[in-house]
Amino acid sequence: MIPSYYEFINSVKILSGKNALENIPAELRGFEARKPILLTDKMLVKIGLAQQVVDACGGSEIVIGAMYDDIPPDSSVEVVNDIVRVYREKGCDSVIAVGGGSVIDTAKGVCICLTEGTDDLLDHMGVDILRRRKTPFVVVPTTAGTGSEVTGVAVIANPAKNVKMEFVSANILPDVAVLDVRMTKSLPPRLTASTGMDALVHAIEAYTCLQRNPLSDAHAHAAINLIRKYLPRAVRDGKDEEARLAMANASLLAGVAFSNSMVGIVHAVGHACGGVLRAPHGDCMAILLPYGMEYNLSAVSERYAELLLPLAGPEVYARTSASQRAEKSIETVREMSAEYSRICGLPTKLREVGVKKEDFSAIARAAVNDGAMIVNPVEADEDDVLGILEKAY
């Protein structure tokens, strides 16, 4: 069914494949920028990925104004404000983010502050209120899962409230996303599986949320197809460049899908687990996905039935009767998690990622206040979330 009204945007230029990094200077030239600040984290500096981006800019007029690598796994408003200070001190004119979701979301926060001319991100929380970004912004993802390189969403921790704050606006979309397998080849199997499942959750929730539309559907469908085909290969052999590039594209496709359709209860509960307990996001997604799907089954069973095709492939889809396809989709997701658990130790229960029963009420309270809950196809209160947590524990 086509929505009576919808909006869709993806204005990000995508550079995907061989020597993509080397085209960053040409892209910056188009914005008349020559002194970017490079945002990354200490681990990526240590394993040489940040330096690869610096080297790729070699032989051009580009000067890296500063390499800020003090971004923690859960970035915060304080870090954003500190980066803005360095950006101004060094006279930078653009931003390159090299990293996973935390680094990219931090960079989005920096761009918000620079555009709005403020030092305080807290002044600009909300939905669809930001002005069009002025700072040229290039993103180089180093994981294949968050899709942050193409999303108009930034999630940044607010330690004072012990939650992650949400900023939603098409005006924080980056200008350029660079997908280069050199950035993801070194990801260990466990992290590859975890981030890949995160992308799968983005696609499945985007396909079933109230905000879905024909264009987000197409992106989600394509993402799931790639994940089914290439995630097992990327987990088993990290040096498989075709699988790595396909997963980078799958993550991006899922990102475009959920940026335009939003995510639902799996993310609401997952964000809450991360906000309350710092539980790893991708692991929480993989654990919670089948339980979230079960919760929404009554409202979106037709959509889940359609997803069996990309999730399990044409043979399984054809031999499953139409009335059983929705449940089969959930079963397929469970089998995928179990398979990655066997191959690389991906957790399948919340207790394995440090969640404790005494934290359930705090998680449930945070989950119902997550913005993702608005567009979930089924309403959920704290008791409903507690039910999901019990099952996933």
């Binding site: 909006e7 909300g126 409230k161 704050m165 949320c209 905000q211 309403e379």
Partner: protein, 171 residues
Amino acid sequence: MASAYREIRPPAKRFERSCVSVLLWFVGRGFQAAAHVDKHVQDEVCGWKDGTIIAIGVAPCGPHMSVRKTGNRLRFLGNVKAPDADAVIEFKSLDAALLVLTGQIGIDRAYAEHRFSLKGDLFSIGMPLVRCLYIVESYLFPKSIAKKILKRWPKRSSSGFAVYFHTIFGV
């Protein structure tokens, strides 16, 4: 030759503007009334710090209404956009506001369709506000309309009569 092309001013939509203004008055008074008589609205509102102001209206200079939390209650401040509001929901057009305020679409559908912007803390104010509006809608709209636009019938602890009485005659 440029003078041959005259400036065209689109219609002012005074009727729609008046309708939105009246409907926002009902929402504001209804919100105040629901917070007076319904425990579940009180539970949602109690997390807001005293003095929190919520404004709902049409951007950029259409009709607005504001309510302020005072103690355990909400006080309707009138058809105004309080300049120091902690959270502001602004519909992008008069027509978008009418879609919601006349019960043609729910708050969640309006969010999904980008019909409004929300300035402020989505976590501590925005989501409780959305749940309050679900309850207020369930009181103010006829049941047949409310059931159509609500994903699930919200928990309530009062009657439509009580909310309507306090909406019209005040609390």
